[in-house]
Symmetry: C3
Subunit: 210 residues, 3 copies
């Protein structure tokens, strides 16, 4: 039972690493570049959170299993990218699961390091979306999450539920389950129904939704 | 009187967050993306400084008011961007004030954490320009500050004055006032007169001044 | 003899700063922008390593000589960029030497901070390639190292040799010499012979090798 958190964390890392590796292969990076994108997408969110709360060295640096899982995802994508592309619907669903896992784990860890409730919620979200942001910055693109369908909002919802549950001292297992389910369902519905946040009227150009 | 520093810091954060939100709405980001740009532009400089000097968690992470001020700036800009654009001259002046406040606060904090004078000056400048750099990197652009009119130099001047004043043990209030005024005036004059630093002769293309 | 490590480290910083300054002058940055690129290219790798292992403030922040060396490299490049361009073969060779020095120094420091062997190897590589990545991100480009000829692999080889030598308790001087020579030769051969890593078949466009 003690091993459940790390298993969930490594699962999330794997799924996010897949997204990084896919983006890298599409841009024509070489094998090493794809590995870097895998690791960055899978671990940047957690590393950023750990640096900000003072958990040094960050989990993904002190424990080699995060690297191992990321490299496996990168290798699979590099050599079987057509397979991963064909499974892209499944990857999206796994990605929603990874987002939920990271947001819950991130806000819990921030609370346990004594952060106030508001910033613990924010750091839960950062844990969920940080990997995708670094992946896109490395590819010299505006991060998808800054203009996409409720991605960050789903992470924020999960993190907020964890923090509220902590403040109300509700049972951990229940809170975790509700938070995971909320994020996952919100994200899946956003994909299916095309739910989006409003865009400012002042926008000079309407770029296509990536 | 004890509350003055935090008031100045939050004022600087608000003004810089406005610049981030404006840049985000212009690029067609959604509501969440604009909020991220607000927070990043308002707080990345201070967060970077705090990570580098070992002040963990950084002020903007441990204290939720920085987030609050950033989100207000983001919301105002998102819903009233035409108003902010019309007030752009006022925003530029506030931005010069924010730069002065951040450079002074940043170098003071670095000195109080025991950094040597040279690097305390540099960290004062980083506090002032870090937010704008992260804002532009997130928008996949070369940071404006790397090719703009005396922006960083004004921050550097303020930080250097603080550090020299500290070394000579001059009265704090006087040093702070001179540093703030120097940065502010230098920046305002640079905008009005179009003062710029030289550009290398070897440049392959002359990009327009943004 | 005690001063050898810092001399090697500053030499590597100087060479990497040259690469950053050259890239900045080519893009038409102003004098300050070129200085920032110099410092970022010369020191981001080491700063990232130090933040991740908890060595705060990082060497390049606590010791002003790293800044000094970076600025000298930036000034030389800014005012004599045609000279640096003409010497570009020499610069490439120095860069290979800098990469070797940084990878060896980085993995040694990570080991001395108690990291496990796998991640110490990775951090050695990060020390070597981090500066170039930040340089390219600041210029809004996909980092060259993610698609170039065995650059990161050479750094990885040096770091791995240091770590293996440490585990086997081989004499330091021997291990360091072998690691430096391996990285340097691998990198020089990769340039001369055009050795590259494979690129994924799924790549949508084949961008030119920069």
């Amino acid at each position: 039972m003690d091993k459940l958190p790390i298993v969930l964390d490594l699962t999330g890392t794997f799924v996010f690493a897949l997204s990084g590796a896919l983006a890298g292969t599409k841009r024509g990076l070489d094998l090493f570049g794809v590995m870097v994108l895998s690791f960055a997408a899978g671990n940047s969110g957690g590393i950023t959170r750990d640096l900000l709360i003072g958990a040094v060295p960050p989990g993904a640096v002190g424990d080699w299993r995060y690297l191992g899982v990321s490299l496996v995802a990168g290798l699979v994508t590099f050599y079987f990218s057509s397979l991963i592309v064909r499974m892209s619907n499944a990857v999206l669903v796994f990605d929603a699961a990874g987002l939920a896992l990271f947001a819950v784990a991130g806000s819990s860890k921030a609370l346990s390091f004594g952060l106030n409730p508001v910033m613990a919620t924010v750091l839960g979200m950062v844990t969920g979306i940080g990997g995708g942001i670094v992946r896109d910055v490395l590819l010299a693109e505006i991060p998808t999450v800054l203009r996409a369908d409720l991605y960050a909002v789903a992470a924020l919802a999960a993190a907020a539920i964890v923090v509220v549950g902590y403040l109300l001292q509700l049972p951990d297992a229940l809170v975790t389950a509700v938070a995971l389910a909320s994020c996952f369902l919100l994200r899946v519905m956003a994909i299916k129904r095309g739910w989006r946040l409003p865009v400012a009227k002042g926008a000079q150009r309407s770029e296509p939704h990536i």
